[in-house]
C-alpha cells in the first residue's frame, strides 16, 4: 500500500511525536511546569532545580503515568491488531476472550473483600480473574474439538456477558463500595508506581517481540485457516500461542490500569487506513500510535477538570466510539 521509504518516515515522525507528547504530558497537571524545569529534573540535576518538589512530581507521579500509558497503549493496540487478524474480524478487540470482564470480576471481589490496591491486592485479583476467564474460554472452545476461531469468539462473548452480570450483582449487593468498583472498571493511571512499571515492562516487551515475530503468520491467518494451513502454518497451535502471548500482556496491563476500552479496537484501524493490513508494518506502528493515543487520553483525563480527574477509560470511549461509528459507515460504503 505504501512504499518502504514512506513507511520509514511515518515511523520517524511517530517517534518524534511520542517523545514530544511525553514531554508535554510531564509538564501538564495541577502544578504546571515549564521546559526548563523539565530539563533540570530529567538531567538529574535535582540540586539545581527550583525545589525537590518538582523533581518528585515529575519522576514519582507523572513519569510513571506516562510510561504506563505508553505500555498500556502499546500492549492493547498490538494485541488488538493480532486479535483482529486471528479472528479475521476487524471489529474484534483485545478483550474479546473475556479478559476485561474476568479482570473486573477479580478487582470487584478484591474491593468487596476490602483488599487494598497498590502493587499487589487488586491487581493480583484482576490478573487472576482475567487468566481464569481466559482458561475457561480456552477449555470450552478446545474441548469442542473445533479449531475454528468463531467458537473461541462466541465462548468469549458468552463469558463476558456472564462475568458482567456477576460484577453487576456484586455492585448491587455492595452498594457502599460502588464508587471504587466503578472507578476501577473505567480504568486509569492515577496510582501507578515504578514498581508496577518494572513488573509490566518486561511482559509487554516480550509479547511485542513475539507478536512482531509472528507478523507473517498473522497475515496468513487473516486470509483464512485453509490458506494459512496450505502455506505451512499449524493453525491451531499458532492461534493458541499468539492469543496467549497477547492475552498475557493485555491482562497484566488491565490488572494495573483497569479496563481501558476502544484503544485496541480503533488504533489498529487508524494504522490500517494509513499503511495497509500487512502486519509487518501494522504491528510496530499500531504499538506506537497506541502509546500516543493513551498519553493524550491520560493527559486530558487529568487536566480537563482540575484538580479532579476523569477516568481514562471514559475519555477513550468518548473519542473512540464516534470514530468506531465512522469506521462502520466507511466500511459499509466501501463494501457495496
Amino acid at each position: 500500500m505504501i512504499s518502504a521509504a514512506k513507511y520509514k518516515w511515518i515511523v520517524i515522525a511517530t517517534l518524534v511525536a511520542l517523545v514530544l507528547l511525553s514531554c508535554i504530558a510531564l509538564l501538564l497537571g495541577p502544578t504546571n511546569l515549564d521546559f526548563a524545569a523539565l530539563y533540570d529534573s530529567l538531567s538529574g540535576d535535582s540540586a539545581n532545580s527550583q525545589s525537590n518538589g518538582i523533581w518528585q512530581v515529575i519522576t514519582q507521579i507523572r513519569l510513571p503515568r506516562v510510561v504506563m500509558a505508553i505500555l498500556a497503549g502499546t500492549a492493547l493496540s498490538a494485541s488488538g491488531s493480532a486479535f483482529q487478524s486471528i479472528f479475521r474480524n476487524p471489529m474484534s478487540d483485545p478483550y474479546v476472550l473475556g479478559i476485561s470482564s474476568g479482570a473486573s470480576v477479580g478487582a470487584t471481589i478484591a474491593i468487596v473483600l476490602g483488599i487494598q490496591g497498590g502493587l499487589l491486592g487488586i491487581p493480583i485479583f484482576a490478573f487472576l480473574g482475567a487468566c481464569s476467564a481466559l482458561i475457561v474460554v480456552y477449555w470450552l472452545a478446545f474441548s469442542l474439538k473445533q479449531s475454528e476461531q468463531n467458537t473461541l469468539l462466541l465462548a468469549g462473548i458468552a463469558m463476558s456477558l456472564m462475568l458482567g452480570a456477576i460484577v453487576s450483582l456484586l455492585l448491587v449487593i455492595h452498594r457502599d463500595q460502588m464508587e471504587s468498583i466503578i472507578f476501577w472498571t473505567l480504568g486509569g493511571f492515577n496510582a501507578i508506581s515504578w514498581q508496577q512499571i518494572w513488573i509490566v515492562t518486561p511482559v509487554v516487551i516480550f509479547s511485542l517481540i513475539m507478536l512482531f515475530k509472528y507478523a507473517k503468520d498473522l497475515n496468513l491467518l487473516a486470509m483464512g485457516n485453509e490458506t494459512a494451513h496450505s502455506l505451512g502454518i499449524n493453525v491451531k497451535k499458532k492461534v493458541a500461542v499468539i492469543l496467549l502471548i497477547s492475552a498475557l500482556s493485555v491482562s497484566i496491563v488491565v490488572a494495573y490500569s483497569g479496563v481501558i476500552g476502544f484503544v485496541g479496537l480503533i488504533v489498529p484501524h487508524m494504522v490500517r487506513f494509513t499503511v495497509g493490513a500487512d502486519n509487518r508494518k501494522l504491528l510496530p506502528l499500531a504499538a506506537l500510535w497506541g502509546g500516543i493515543f493513551l498519553i493524550i487520553a491520560d493527559t486530558l483525563a487529568r487536566t480537563v477538570v482540575q484538580p479532579g480527574e476523569l477516568p481514562v477509560g471514559s475519555i477513550t470511549a468518548l473519542f473512540g466510539a464516534p470514530y468506531f461509528f465512522f469506521i462502520l459507515i466507511k466500511r459499509s460504503k466501501s463494501h457495496v
Binding site: 487478524s85 474480524n89 496468513l220 486470509m223 490458506t227 502455506l231 495497509g276 466501501s334
Partner: protein, 262 residues
C-alpha cells in the same frame, strides 16, 4: 506427513493416494478412495454437493487428517507448502492488503521474516501477477477488487508459491462466463507450459470436457469413475450420479457438447 515412494518418480507420478478415508463422527465423508496423479496433467473432480470433493482436496493437503489410508509423493519436501498450493473455495479478503502483498504471501514459505524476500521471490510475484493479468492492480487494495479480480489474485498467490502440484476448489464458480473461461485457459496454460499438475473441482461438465485431461467423478465419498471426460461422462453415469438425463451432441465441425433434458 506424506510417505516418500521414489519409484513414483520414474512413472511421472506426483502424488498417489491409497484407500484414503475421512470420517466425521461415524459418517464416512471419504470412503477408501485411491488414485494416482500424473505430472503436467489437468485433473477435474466432479460430483454432487456433499459427495466429498472438497474433503478429498483438504485430506490430500492434510488440512484434514485422514482417518485411514496413505498418501505417497515421489520426493521428500521438508515444507509441504513447497510442494502443494491451494486455492480454497472462499478466501476471505477482509483486510486492506494490496494485491502485491497478497500475492507475496505465496512466497512466505520460502523466506524468513528477518531477511525479507530476495530478488527471486520478487520476480516470481511479478511473473505470477503478469500471468494472471493482475500486474496493473498491484497497488490496489484487495477489498476493492471485483470477484474475478479477487480470484485471479488468489490464483496468482498459488502460482507465486511455485509448487509442482496445485489444488483449486471451484475456482470459477463465482465468476461470470468471460472470467470463467479466462481462468480455465490460464490453468490449462499452466499445466501445459509449466508442467504443473492441477486438480480442480468443477461443476460445469462441459468445462470439464473442454479444458481438463481427466475427470474423477465422486459420489457418496467414493471415486465412482475416472478417465477422459467425454468417455467417462456418459448418459448412464450422469443418470446414476447426478440424476439427470443428458446426451452428447456434436454440431458440425465442433467438439461434442453435453446437453441436459429437463
Amino acid at each position: 506427513m506424506f510417505k516418500v515412494k521414489t519409484e513414483l518418480l520414474e512413472r511421472d507420478i506426483v502424488m498417489a493416494f491409497e484407500d484414503l478415508s475421512f470420517k466425521a463422527g461415524s459418517k464416512a465423508i471419504l470412503n477408501t478412495v485411491s488414485h494416482e496423479l500424473k505430472k503436467g496433467r489437468f485433473y477435474s473432480i466432479a460430483g454432487c454437493n456433499g459427495s466429498g470433493k472438497t474433503t478429498l482436496l483438504q485430506t490430500l493437503l492434510q488440512i484434514k487428517k485422514a482417518s485411514s489410508g496413505h498418501i505417497h509423493v515421489p520426493d521428500y519436501y521438508p515444507n509441504k507448502a513447497h510442494y502443494l498450493s491451494y486455492v480454497p473455495q472462499n478466501t476471505q479478503l477482509e483486510f486492506d492488503f494490496s494485491v502485491e502483498e497478497a500475492v507475496m504471501m505465496g512466497r512466505y514459505p520460502y523466506y524468513s521474516g528477518i531477511t525479507g524476500p530476495n530478488s527471486e521471490d520478487k520476480q516470481k510475484v511479478l511473473d505470477a501477477m503478469e500471468m494472471t493479468d493482475m500486474i496493473n492492480f498491484r497497488k490496489r487494495s484487495v477489498t476493492t477488487l471485483s470477484g474475478g479480480e479477487k480470484q485471479r489474485t488468489i490464483i496468482a498467490r498459488a502460482l507465486a508459491q511455485d509448487t509442482p502440484v496445485m489444488f483449486l476448489d471451484e475456482p470459477v464458480s463465482q465468476l461470470d462466463v468471460f472470467h470463467q473461461i479466462e481462468v480455465l485457459k490460464l490453468l490449462r496454460q499452466i499445466a501445459d507450459q509449466e508442467n504443473k499438475t492441477i486438480i480442480t473441482v468443477l461443476h460445469d461438465l462441459n468445462q470439464v470436457a473442454e479444458f481438463t485431461d481427466e475427470v474423477m467423478v465422486m459420489d457418496k465419498g467414493r471415486i465412482v469413475a475416472y478417465g477422459e471426460p467425454i468417455e467417462v461422462l456418459n448418459p448412464e453415469l450422469l443418470k446414476s450420479v447426478f440424476k439427470v438425463d443428458s446426451e452428447w451432441i456434436c454440431a458440425k465441425d465442433t467438439k461434442p457438447h453435453l446437453i441436459f433434458h429437463y
